[in-house]
């Protein structure tokens, strides 16, 4: 009996030794993301699967809601316990962290992988600080899309995609007459700001858009553009249902999936929801760029790599960066998430009809950056307030409100 016990204990000790050794061998990463909707989670899972296949250990810390995840991340960074990786958009949001020396550079992975040759210059510039790569781009999103339910369009008797705003509003009238909700409106400030921007692009063009957001130009032409944008926005308000206030974007997409609503203004991540629901682009639903728009607004997702002071995590971060930039992963991820691969050298044949349109616009350079790329978080917040106040019954005077728009840059 005693001998048995000894053997048993030795076995336990040995097993314990083995498992600890195993855990140490494997690069472990804790991933903090806000990707919790069906399409987003499926896309993240593509990276996770490949990461695990290459010997990594994945710990998922998903928090629903972009703001909530950001708050949790910020708290953990300040507390000195950052996760191994964080999903976030490319742009000024990461700049403060990098300048404070809180992120690991992944420049050696970027050099070894020749990222400079395969990424569009605009994205490469945005992931680099002082010439070093800090972020790894997972994919780019077009944000100027109008999705429409083909079933709803048929019911309303709309034969083809409207090309101008007049045609568009005529279509909305038909949808309304058919007893459908014309616009599935996502009533959160960030969503409203995106609609504002896509309309603005259709009114002022690519140069005008960059002038406003990058040069902060408030000449008469810019004010006039903002004014026209606000007028269209006010007009849209008449085509929105009662339950729109505070609605999530994926709930709005669900209204299209069930053909209760006609159109939705949203970024192409909405395609992920359609895909999860078994709907096919071009067949069940259509996608068009906002009427009269010369191009599209884009935003790019990426992973940040906080300094954790743990050598194993550093290794895992490099492995993760390699996995994300793998051409096959980029395509597979984009299919699930509805985005466009950040790499330009991937096999585009698998992409759906909408993504093909997006890739075309992108390679033609007909793109302008999202506000999160060019504005600080405070300015983004001010823009949200501005649009939200106007949308929810602020002053009816578009001309006077347009003048106030430029206060967001202060």
């Amino acid at each position: 009996m005693k001998k048995m016990m000894k053997l048993f204990l030795a076995g336990v000790a040995f097993a314990g030794f083995l498992t600890t050794a195993k855990a140490e061998d494997k690069p472990t990463i804790e991933m903090l993301s806000s990707w919790t909707s069906g399409g987003e989670a499926a896309a993240l899972n593509v990276i996770k699967t490949e990461f695990e296949k290459r010997g990594g250990v994945w710990k998922d810390s998903s928090i629903a809601g972009f703001g909530a995840a950001d708050a949790a991340f910020q708290n953990r960074v300040v507390a000195g316990d950052p996760p191994g990786a964080k999903q976030g958009v490319i742009g000024l949001a990461a700049a403060d962290f990098v300048s404070q020396g809180l992120f690991n550079s992944i420049d050696d992975v970027a050099k070894a992988g020749m990222w400079a040759d395969v990424l569009p210059k605009s994205i490469l510039d945005l992931i680099s600080y002082d010439g070093q790569a800090y972020l790894v781009p997972t994919g780019a999103h077009g944000e100027s899309w109008v999705f429409y339910s083909k079933e709803a369009f048929e019911k309303a008797g709309i034969a083809e995609e409207p090309k101008t705003w007049d045609e568009f509003f005529a279509g909305l009238d038909k949808l309304k007459a058919a007893g459908l909700v014309p616009v599935a409106w996502g009533g959160q400030p960030w969503q409203q700001s995106k609609v504002f921007n896509m309309i603005l692009l259709s009114q002022v063009g690519i140069d005008g858009f960059l002038k406003i957001y990058v040069d902060k130009d408030n000449s008469d032409a810019s004010v006039e553009g903002v004014k026209k944008t606000l007028e269209i926005l006010r007009k849209l308000h008449g085509y929105v249902d009662d339950g729109a206030a505070g609605r999530n974007w994926n709930d709005a997409t669900a209204m299209l999936i069930t053909a209760k609503a006609g159109v939705q203004f949203m970024g192409d991540w909405a395609k992920g929801e359609f895909t999860v629901a078994g709907k096919e682009a071009g067949k069940d639903y259509g996608c068009m760029i906002v009427p009269e728009s010369p191009g599209m607004v884009y935003i790019a997702d990426s992973f940040y790599f906080p300094k954790t002071g743990n050598a194993e995590t550093d290794k895992a971060q490099k492995l993760l960066a390699e996995v994300v930039m793998d051409p096959a992963v980029q395509v597979e991820f984009s299919l699930k998430k509805g985005s466009v691969p950040a790499r330009s050298d991937v096999d585009k044949s698998k992409l759906d009809a909408c993504a093909q349109k997006g890739v075309e616009l992108m390679s033609a350079g007909a793109i302008v950056p999202d506000q999160a790329i060019v504005l600080t978080p405070q300015q983004v917040g001010a823009l949200d307030d501005f649009v939200d106040e106007y949308w929810n019954g602020g002053s009816d005077d578009a001309a006077a409100t347009a003048e106030n728009f430029f206060a967001i840059f202060e």
Partner: protein, 295 residues
């Protein structure tokens, strides 16, 4: 005399850790926050001082002013509503009805739920496309409107409704306990005099419940300053600024907008507001106990 000093010393020693914690954790962090409100910190604390610029910015912000206005409306109606409804419920239960304990449990139950759950439930019920409005309309009454959470003119009252639904149970329990402490002789005497029941409650019971209701009111009032979760769950501050509250303004600027300076300025204003309300109370109570010679 020396004996007294001795006990004082040991008491002081025993309380020392508590004092240290109070000084460092409460006062220290508060001082640090106030200090930050004079800097232009964005995402991380910075030490470049800008004087009162953050306060100037705060009070020129439409959103902040709207949030103060909203929390005032919400606070008065919420505390008042809870006290009134709670007292009425307690009076009803006090009538020696059947199944009293079952009713007590039902009325108190909402208080056991978090504000997030309460907020979500009421958000669903008041949402025009999901809740009461949709179900009444599906029964045939097509013009029925109940759109409180999405209507900017009444959204704040939707919050009050949900808040009162949750908080009234607490007041009921406290008031009921107070009522049970009132001697039965008073009831008998009042009955003999032929005083109507409602009059007994208003003129005899209510004055005696003063301290109990004041305690309940204080508990609720402290919740008002911190109101955050119910707003996030029900309306997220919308539509527009209709239900924005200071705590949410502060949280948004702290994290989402990476504006530590403005957020701490807002927090400082809140603390000052609380002190301004509480200080006269404390002073009055101090003076009263002094007058009684109890001090």
């Amino acid at each position: 005399m020396s004996m007294k000093r001795k006990t004082n010393l040991s008491a002081t020693l025993a309380l020392l850790p508590t004092w240290l914690v109070a000084a460092v954790v409460f006062i220290g962090t508060m001082a640090w926050s106030i200090n930050l409100s004079f800097t232009n910190s964005t995402i991380f604390p910075s030490s470049s001082y800008v004087g009162l610029a953050q306060y100037a910015k705060l009070f020129s912000s439409v959103k902040w002013l709207a949030s103060l206005h909203n929390v005032l409306i919400f606070g008065v109606l919420y505390v008042g509503g809870c006290l009134l409804l709670g007292f009425l419920l307690a009076a009803a239960l006090d009538r020696k009805i059947r199944f009293e304990s079952a009713f007590r449990t039902i009325f108190l139950y909402p208080y056991a739920m978090s504000f997030v759950v309460t907020g979500l439930i009421w958000q669903w019920m008041l949402n025009p496309t999901l809740g009461i409005q949709a179900s009444v309309r599906s029964l045939g009454w097509e013009s029925f409107v109940l759109d409180w959470v999405v209507n900017r003119d009444v959204a704040i009252y939707a919050l009050v409704l949900a808040g009162v639904w949750q908080g009234a149970g607490l007041v009921m329990v406290i008031a009921l306990a107070g009522m049970r402490g009132i001697e039965a002789e008073q009831w008998k005497a009042a009955r003999i005099d032929g005083i109507p029941v409602w009059r007994i409650y208003v003129s005899i019971i209510l004055p005696q419940l003063g301290p109990a209701l004041a305690a309940a009111g204080m508990l609720l009032a402290m919740g008002v300053i911190k109101t955050y979760d119910i707003v996030v769950a029900m309306t997220n501050g919308g539509p527009g600024n209709a239900t924005e509250v200071p705590a949410k303004f502060i949280m948004d600027n702290l994290f989402g907008r990476q504006n530590l300076g403005l957020a701490t300025a807002g927090a400082t204003v809140l603390v000052l507001g609380v002190i301004m309300i509480v200080a006269p109370f404390r002073y009055a109570m101090h003076m009263r106990s002094k007058a009684k010679g109890a001090c």
